[in-house]
């Protein structure tokens, strides 16, 4: 690992100060679950590492009038087990609980989970691809069987690895960003960007910015949500495909639905076409199949991942029937 300076920040102001001072040379260290590996493998070589683990006011889960407030440093295990999260924001608890292994959930933060880097093995290996500033994607003509896109891939075909992001999209969450400018809040779906906007990053954060809080609005009455994920059999690993759905229903009739997919595109992907097909209708097996078709419409599978199309469809169907 290349040597670096460790900065142990105690407050958001200190984090902001360190980031502003060192800009592109600095990285935030939350649980370190991803950053440590990136640094060991020299995929990322920051000169300054700003630990936010000791920043007091970003470890919390609070249910307030407008919804659930989650500090960026909140660990995934706490989210997975929190009573209010399990009860009213079920998809998020399930997604947090589906991340990796118990050890990693005890270490990994929600902020870090949202900002983790891709798992494409060329990116993780010694390949100077687009994502590292190179000028070729090795996956497009190479081995793309697991962690590559079937939807929205272009230039770079990685899939966004975060499970919690998928749940946050379905739950209509907002992400609060602090930095040199005034604090701002964006919709979860606007936080993530694809390779067309910028292949070198996966979200809108500028070098001196950080996530401080995630807010999930209180769901309307009669709303249920769930998160489902398929991974390589018997592993603790990342999603081959995942789906999160939130559905408000009255007498079995869906009034509004939000549906998001993970593991299939360079961003956690909200599929509004499928959402629209559900509104105002009774969720039956047939309707859920239709929505599943719409969710994967326009898929452009790669040479080795066509199976993900069917996998995604069956997850969507299952998830819809579960919340109906």
């Amino acid at each position: 690992m290349q040597s670096f300076t460790w900065i142990n920040a105690k407050s958001i102001e200190e984090v902001k100060g360190a980031l502003a001072k060192h800009g592109k040379k600095a990285r935030i260290f939350a649980g370190g679950g991803d950053l440590t590996t990136l640094m060991k493998e020299r995929i990322d070589t920051p000169e300054f590492v700003v630990n936010i683990g000791d920043v007091k006011d970003i470890h919390y889960i609070r249910e307030e009038k407008d919804g659930l407030h989650i500090g960026a440093m909140t660990i995934l295990a706490d989210l997975a087990e929190h009573e209010a999260v399990l009860g009213r924001y079920t998809a998020l608890a399930e997604a947090a609980g589906a991340v990796a292994s118990p050890q990693l959930r005890n270490m990994g933060s929600i902020g870090g989970n949202l900002c983790q880097r891709p798992r494409c093995w060329y990116y993780r290996g010694a390949f100077h691809c687009y994502k590292k500033g190179g000028d070729f994607c090795f996956a497009v003509t190479g081995d793309n069987r697991y962690y590559h896109s079937i939807l929205k891939g272009e230039l770079c075909y990685m899939v966004h690895p975060s499970d919690t992001a998928v749940a946050l999209l379905a739950l209509d969450a907002r992400i609060t960003i602090a930095g040199p400018q005034k604090e701002k809040t964006v919709k979860a779906e606007d936080f993530f960007i694809g390779p067309r906007q910028d292949v070198l990053r996966e979200n809108i954060l500028q070098p001196a910015e950080l996530i401080t809080e995630i807010v999930v609005p209180t769901p309307p009455a009669n709303t249920r949500s769930t998160f489902l994920k398929t991974r390589i059999r018997g592993s603790w690993d990342f999603a081959l495909a995942s789906v999160a759905v939130r559905c408000t229903a009255k007498n079995g009739v869906c009034q509004a639905a939000r549906l998001a997919l993970g593991g299939v595109a360079p961003v956690p992907l909200r599929v509004e076409r499928a959402e629209r097909a559900l509104a105002g209708k009774k969720i039956t097996r047939e309707l859920s199949q239709q929505a599943a078709q719409l969710a994967t419409a326009g898929a452009r599978p790669m040479t080795m991942n066509r199976y993900k199309v069917d996998l995604t469809r069956s997850l969507v169907e299952k998830a819809l029937l579960a919340v109906a």
């Binding site: 497009v140 272009e154 067309r196």
Partner: protein, 230 residues
């Protein structure tokens, strides 16, 4: 970078004084007053071979990115459509199966470019070095005449969004408030970036894919070429 402003207005002006040539880029001035037509050919046009295209959209993204880096509109100037009628090359079917069929839709750099003739503010220009027809975004007043005049539609299901589009080979950038089109990456060492970065071209150049053609090639924009681009 040299450029010759060859526009309808120049034609008329030059015609009036009976000039035979103006600047490096103006050739004969026949047919003045009817359809102006004797512009020099573009040294290059993007010549696609849809049978080799895997719809990866690398060309679109690198096009947008390169022009953004030049301070220009970042709208891709080449677009990819889904096109079930394309017959794939045997090598593509064998090595990269099941990705679908596509049609690349670049600008043809027409020998008689309608877009150039109609611009009222001299924003449609010919690159002095390679003859590429391009829009000077600083001059474009976004009247849309070039787009209306371009006879070649981009009409079908856009691969990027899987939604239908009905465009021309000139694009409006809502953010910048200008029209833009393929300029053959004028001034770029290495030529058009789409041709350089198309991963199929890269694999062909490496000998991994064996074909006698490229997925995207650069060719002199003759009338024959113009007729053969979809």
């Amino acid at each position: 970078m040299t450029e010759a402003a060859v526009t309808r207005r120049d034609f008329l002006r030059l015609g009036a004084v009976g000039a035979v040539a103006a600047g490096a880029a103006v050739l004969g001035l026949a047919n003045l007053g009817t359809q102006p037509q004797a512009l020099p050919l573009s040294e290059g046009a993007i010549m696609p071979d849809p049978s080799l295209c895997i719809g990866c959209l690398t060309c679109e993204v690198v096009c947008g990115r390169y022009h953004r880096e030049q301070g220009l509109s970042d709208k891709p100037r080449i677009r990819i459509l889904n096109h079930s009628a394309t017959t794939l090359h045997a090598e593509i079917q064998r090595k990269y199966p099941g990705r679908g069929q596509f049609l690349q839709q670049p600008c043809k750099q027409c020998p008689h470019p309608e877009c150039v003739y109609v611009c009222p503010v001299n924003a449609m220009r010919l690159d002095g070095a390679n003859g590429a027809r391009f829009i000077d975004e600083a001059r474009c007043v976004a009247c849309g005449r070039c787009e209306a005049a371009c006879p070649f539609p981009i009409d079908g299901i856009l691969t990027e969004t899987a939604e239908p589009v009905a465009w021309k080979r000139i694009f409006f950038d809502e953010q910048k408030g200008v029209f833009t089109k393929c300029d053959m990456c004028r001034g770029r060492e290495g030529g058009p970036i789409c041709v350089e970065r198309c991963p199929i071209n890269i694999r062909i150049r490496q000998g991994v894919l064996k074909t006698d053609r490229l997925c995207l090639d650069v060719t002199r924009a003759t009338t024959k070429v113009y007729d053969s681009i979809a």
